[in-house]
């Protein structure tokens, strides 16, 4: 048995009706993606996010958008990020020539102490924070903090809301008042389209202009998958409910084993164990989780919420290893 609980994916495929239309789209695979289909996707995203159509920048996966964002806006600015943060962010930032300031999130609530850098961010700054944070699963921003950050005109602020649907907290509505704000999201997590790689940024005019030349063509099957996912949101909502229930069950179960599962606003749980080499031990039993020993410290793992059967297998394995 092999269980992948290391990538925060939806553990099963989206509904049949979505798969069927994606299959049909393969008949047109010899053609470039028609612009009108892309426009439909943008319209649906606009309805879904309540953001104007022209504020939406589409790309093949949010990873590309985050990287591009860092390259576009880091010049002449320091980069401020959380520690830990989504590894793509912490790996891309040092590839620029900008100074990097990391802010340690403090256990157990993994709070972001804005006051610790309030003077620092008066300098020209590119701030990138994932909210909820990956890998801790915690919400690290509140509206007051976001406002306080954005009041500073020298800041460009990118919030990664990849797990927005699980947390139900967004600051996308603030782009109309703050042209220095951008929100990046994905259909890979709650919509279960990780293999299609559809990411989007919601941003004001200043940021949109910088992205004008990007023009990344999305694969046609991905666009079709995105359109149909946004038209059939019930399965996404069901998945979110399921995740919430399973998170509660797993947290309770592991606490009996002396393992701490931190509160999470995502589809994964950060766990603290005192088991030596826990990632490897789980892998030997066919369970893949993300070992965070090099990011947070020994004994920490990030475990995606799988199907009920997968979660049961994970829990039994933990019990055995313990």
């Amino acid at each position: 048995m092999l269980i992948r609980l290391d990538r925060n994916e939806m553990p099963r495929s989206p509904p049949k009706e979505i798969i069927e239309v994606v299959k049909l789209s393969l008949n047109k695979i010899h053609r470039y993606t028609p612009q009108y289909e892309v426009d439909i996707l943008v319209n649906l995203l606009s309805d879904y996010t309540k953001a104007p159509q022209d504020s939406i920048i589409l790309s093949s996966g949010s990873d590309i958008l985050i990287k591009e964002f860092i390259y576009l806006f880091s010049r002449g600015r320091q980069i401020v990020i959380a520690d830990p943060t989504f590894i793509l962010i912490s790996n891309t930032a040092p590839k620029t020539s900008s100074p990097i300031l990391k802010v340690r999130l403090k256990e157990p609530e993994f709070k972001f102490y804005l006051e610790s850098i309030i003077d620092e961010i008066k300098k020209p700054t590119l701030m990138i924070l994932d909210n909820p944070n990956n890998p801790t699963g915690s919400l690290i921003l509140n509206e007051k903090d976001v406002k306080m950050i954005l009041e500073n005109e020298k800041i460009i602020f990118l919030i990664d809301e990849a797990y927005f649907e699980f947390s139900n907290i967004t600051y996308s509505h603030m782009i109309k008042d703050y042209p220095n704000l951008a929100i990046v999201r994905t259909l890979s997590k709650s919509f279960g389209l990780a293999g299609s790689g559809i990411g989007y940024i919601i941003a004001g005019e200043i940021i949109q202009q910088k992205f004008l030349g990007l023009n990344i063509m999305l694969p046609y099957p991905s666009v079709i998958a995105g359109i149909n996912a946004l038209k059939n949101q019930d399965y996404m909502l069901n998945y979110i409910n399921e995740v919430a229930q399973e998170k509660y069950r797993i947290t309770k179960y592991v606490s009996k084993l002396g393992i701490i599962a931190f509160p999470s606003s995502t589809n994964f749980l950060l766990m603290k164990t005192n088991i030596y080499n826990i990632g490897k031990k789980l892998e030997e039993q066919g369970v893949f989780v993300l070992d965070l020993s090099s990011q947070i410290g020994p004994g920490y793992i990030r475990v995606s919420i799988g199907t009920k059967a997968e979660n049961d297998y994970f829990l039994k394995t933990m019990e055995r290893i313990k």
Partner: protein
Amino acid sequence: MKKIGLIVNPIAGMGGSVGLKGTDGNVYKKAMKMGAIPVIPIRVNQLLSNIKNKKDILFFVAPEKMGENYVKTRVFKYEVIGNIGEDTSAEDTKRIAKLMIEREIDLLVFCGGDGTARDIFDAIGLEKPVVAIPSGVKMFSSVFALNPIAAAEIIDKFLKEPLETLDQEILDINEESFRKGVLDSRLYGYLKVPKVQNLIQPGKDSSKVGITSEENKFEIAQHIIKDMENDTLYLLGPGTTVRAISDQLKISKTLLGIDAIYNNELVGRDLNERGILELLNKFKKAEIILTPIGGQGFILGRGNKQFTPKILKIIGKKNIRIIATEEKMKGLKCLRVDTGDIEIDNNFKGFIKVIIGYKQELVMEIKA
């Protein structure tokens, strides 16, 4: 086949069960009289029985109860190194460790506590990597493996592939004070400990760009040197991270002492409070460069007591720079100060930027 040295401190850990907080000096005899049970055999046997690749090791063992007795009943190939008498001492540990280095061991495994770690450091310094089996009463040093089973896993890994090492601190706790409930420690030295990176799963989330801890120290030193100003006195605290700065400036620095640099020249070596105060009188601008103690996070008050409250008052928090490798910072939840002066400790409370790479800083909380 790898050559692995094994040294067991047969009296380590005996003071613990009878509440003696250590067996330094002749305290172990008192412990024996009080009915202390040796803890070492269980630890060593746990270690040896959990090593999987037994045939890939040629053990160089200390004689009898210092190692030989544990391997001779097992399948390991081994050679006995040196001689010991009826009563064993720190000198035996040091002498035999040196002999093992002469025999070109690849790794030294030892069982003991802080005291044994100090003896091993005296004998081999940073020459070869060590795996330390925690068996003492006091284990404040950050060189120890989690437990004997974890140590066996590290050894198995070492047999398969070259492992990167980290320089970890050995602390010298004053046992006399410790018995009276006072934690009085100083930084004694460093040992090379294999960095056991847990198996990282494939996938985009784990594609961490890694640099070795030595490269990281080099980067930090570059950052500091870039910002160094003329006509400023730089007081360099203990540790290999700080020493990387003087190494790049081609200045010979003590590993454990406080040294001073002015306009790229060494102006003070292994300074005490008086020596530092004299320099502060002479030079108007001064900065302190420090690295926290791994595992504990103390930036002041452990291992660098030469920086007394009087000196810290003169220099001020804003002129203290903290540097640390990312690896070290990962293990710390916060930084700590314990200068012995409550007012100064309170003044340090709050947040500070730690230089963790070239143009890379980490904001951390300081607690008193």
